[in-house]
């Protein structure tokens, strides 16, 4: 599969995502600079973590108007798969591709630690390969990860089964002490109503190799790959317009 990993000024998890997709999972992945207006022949888009535009104004607020985000809007509208991780999640919310917003952690602290995630539904291209009941141990690293949505939006998320992951304790309970940032109902990740765009604050790419202490994050990428491999053949392939390749340093 071909993945496009977006790169904004201030992205800093882009190389990690490319490393996992290429060297751990053996797929093709390339970095796509934010000034490109096409995703080329990519099968799916990953918006990685970082601090795009220094988090100025609000997290993701400026990145969301980058030229490449026009292409992302088109891909998302046409049913293509888009995953936003951390800052990528914030950008997708700012872009209106995911409902709600991510605001300052309730503690006001930047939280950098391992969390447990429970997967709420396997019914998505991002969770299908996660065994039912399995807790994922994945790190977070953010200052603005408190998920907020108004009551109406929250009700709709639940009704449509759009909550994908929740922060839980080691026993799988979504307790207040297991919630690292004050997110509504311990929400760690959601998808859109069409289920082709998702975002999560934790970093699966930082937990994708045993040498890093945990490889459970791979299940997220494997779900994505499974979805791409099994997508209906009738779906038209993306137009083969080439974006500019950016060399990966030390990958």
């Amino acid at each position: 599969m071909n993945f496009a990993v977006l790169q904004f000024p201030g992205s800093n998890c882009d190389q990690d995502v490319v490393h996992v997709l290429r060297n751990v999972l053996g797929h093709s992945a390339r970095l796509l600079w934010h000034k490109e207006d096409s995703i080329g022949n990519a099968d799916a888009i990953i918006i990685p973590g970082g601090f795009s535009y220094g988090d100025y104004l609000r997290t993701g607020a400026i990145a969301r108007f980058s030229p490449v985000m026009g292409a992302v809007q088109t891909v998302a509208r046409d049913g293509g798969l888009v995953l936003g991780i951390c800052n990528g999640f914030q950008i997708l919310c700012e872009a209106g591709l995911l409902p709600g917003a991510l605001i300052r952690n309730r503690s006001l602290q930047f939280r950098c630690e391992q969390v447990f995630l429970s997967t709420v539904t396997q019914n998505s291209p991002f969770t299908s390969q996660i065994p039912q009941g399995k807790l994922l141990r994945i790190p977070i690293a953010h200052g603005e990860g408190c998920y907020f949505a108004d009551q109406e939006t929250l009700a709709r998320l639940k009704e449509n089964n759009q909550i994908l992951w929740r922060y839980v304790d080691a026993q799988g309970q979504a307790t207040e002490s297991a919630n690292p940032n004050g997110s509504l109902e311990n929400i760690a990740g959601i998808c859109n109503a069409a289920r082709n765009v998702a975002g999560l604050m934790p970093h699966p790419e930082r937990a994708s190799e045993a040498v890093l202490g945990c490889a459970e994050g791979l299940l997220v990428f494997e779900s994505l790959i499974h979805a791409l491999k099994t997508r209906p053949a009738s779906e038209p392939a993306p137009a083969p317009r080439e974006g500019r390749e950016v060399e990966v340093i030390a990958a």
């Binding site: 400026i62 700012e94 917003a101 605001i103 309730r106 907020f148 108004d150 004050g182």
Partner: protein, 79 residues
């Protein structure tokens, strides 16, 4: 012309920064401190002279980028 824009968190949105400032003020002994909301203030210099056009453009910018309507309210004045 200059636009003066004030952006505040919506009432329904938790404002931990405001809460912390409120607690600090109370701890310092200032009497009668109620809830505090921390927002942003922007000043934008405008080169045009058409006030109606500026009003409409700034309102559009506030809605699209300067604030996030999901979590923030805004108000502004031109002078």
């Amino acid at each position: 012309m200059k636009a003066k824009i004030i952006i505040t968190p919506k009432k329904a949105v938790l404002d931990p920064q405001g809460k912390t400032v409120q607690n600090a003020l109370a701890h310092m002994g200032y009497p009668g401190i109620g809830p505090v909301r921390v927002g942003k203030y922007l000043e934008i210099e405008l080169t045009g002279t058409d006030k109606a056009a500026a009003q409409s453009a700034i309102d559009d910018a506030c809605h699209k980028i300067l604030s996030n309507p999901v979590i923030e309210d805004y108000r502004f004045e031109l002078e």
